[in-house]
């Protein structure tokens, strides 16, 4: 027995009038189009920085693409570190929604017809089955976030004197947003306490319940943290690059 009607084509038929999402006033194509444009732009920029650039330090600021700074021969320093946040974002539960919808049309928008293509297997087969390893990317990214906090603190040290520059503020904002994104991760929510069935059964469980609640607060807006931190990562790097090129002058206030 066929359990449902055959998959229909993209055109609207009498049975399938144009799909109108009542919960959003934006047209159905806008979100996927935005994601394609934003992620493509960031992707191209990141490739340029990681593989083709060698400088990202303008004292006392270090570009987030280069932290921790590892210099070995002619290899661009970004190569050593950028893979961690890259894999983290690629396997992130929010970005999965974003790219499955926009790059693959699975589905482009809720209830709209999908392109009949190769058999859909979701995250059960290569390469998407690797999304199940998201937690390992989280571990690697936490290490990087620790370095970024270190960099952000150093960014207030102007030759031994405390000061605040526009760069310091940017670096701090960047690491705050990155922390909000990283520690709102669903894998971390699970690790923090989501895997417990009983939150009250032991002292440790009660403590983890509190942590789980805290992670949940960050997790609710995981998408916004993801976009905001992506923007500040690029912004901070561009700012430092413009300082290096002498295009901008860093406004500073040093004690």
């Amino acid at each position: 027995m066929a359990l449902s009607q055959p998959v229909d084509s993209e055109v609207s038929s009498p049975r399938r009038p144009r799909v109108r999402n009542p919960y959003s006033r934006l047209p159905n194509w806008l979100y996927p189009a935005f994601v394609v444009v934003a992620l493509s732009l960031f992707g191209i920029f990141a490739i340029w920085v990681v593989f083709f650039q060698h400088e990202g330090y303008y004292a006392p600021y270090l570009s987030p693409f280069y932290s921790p700074l590892i210099k070995v021969g002619p290899i661009p320093p970004g190569v050593w570190v950028a893979w961690a946040p890259l894999v983290f974002r690629l396997t992130c539960y929010y970005y999965r929604k974003a790219y499955f919808r926009s790059f693959f049309g699975h589905p482009r928008s809720c209830a709209v017809p999908e392109r009949a293509g190769r058999r859909y297997r979701g995250e059960t087969v290569f390469p998407w089955v690797f999304n199940n390893f998201h937690r390992f990317a989280f571990y690697a990214t936490v290490v990087q976030v620790v370095f970024l906090w270190f960099d952000a603190i150093i960014a207030f040290d102007f030759g031994g004197r405390f000061g605040i520059g526009l760069g310091s503020v940017l670096m701090l904002a960047n690491v705050v947003l990155l922390s909000g994104y990283t520690f709102g991760c669903h894998a971390f929510r699970h690790l923090a306490g989501g895997d417990l069935d009983c939150f009250s059964c032991s002292l440790a469980a009660r403590a983890r319940h509190k942590l789980w609640r805290g992670v949940t607060v960050l997790n609710i807006r995981h998408d916004r943290w993801a976009w905001a931190s992506l923007l500040t990562v690029a912004g901070t790097d561009i700012y430092i690059r413009l300082l290096l090129a002498g295009v901008l002058h860093d406004p500073r206030w040093v004690l």
Binding site: V7, P17, N21, R96, K97, A111, F133, C198
Partner: protein
Amino acid sequence: MELTSLDLKIWRGDAKGGDLVSYRVPVREGMVVLDAVLWVQANMASDLAVRWNCKAAKCGSCSAEIDGFPRLMCKTPIDEYGGRLSVGPMKAFPVIKDLVTDVSWNYQVNKEIPPFTPSDKDLSSSEPWRMQQKDVERVMEFRKCIECFLCQDVCHVLRAHDLKGAFQGPRAMVRIASLEMHPKDVLDRRPLLKGKAGIGYCNVSKCCTEVCPEHIHITDNAIIPLKERMDDVYFDPVRSLVNRLGGRSRKRPAD
């Protein structure tokens, strides 16, 4: 301008085929789509098939597609649609007649999920069970489900790819979550998740959450935490080893 009449198109037909038929319905204040459909049934088409019961968004019977989008007819005010709308049966299930579909597949799936299973000790105890508020809170969200199957209808795995048999769908994930996270349940449904329930087919594209009339965070609170729990056993060698050595297999395998 106050609406006086509604241009209502209703899909009429059965398993063999059908089409949209137009009806002109006088508008009353506070009218919902179900009112308009029932007006047509009472005054213009007494053979119109429509399933409903509570008219209070609590029985989950009146699920349909309004302008191609899954919603409850009794909870949808017509003035959201500016004088013109169409109603059709749920697309993911076989049509019986007009707006009525055969949703029995969902009940079959439900039977495949091992029911609530307390420990022998709890079962034989004559004392009332005591559970802390914080332990039941999380599963209470899942218990709000009214089995409208709108989430099943919108899920592209079932709707566009017709993978019933491979993936049990978001409603089933909500039920499994309500059992898996229950402090008094001792069964391990993770093999079920990986196997027959097919959680890997979900690509966290989140349409189920968008349509749920009970505002259950299906993806964030049920599916993603269940994916993480499945990952503990099948995709995290470190954790599964630690759990096995530490004897944390408190749970019994389901059959």
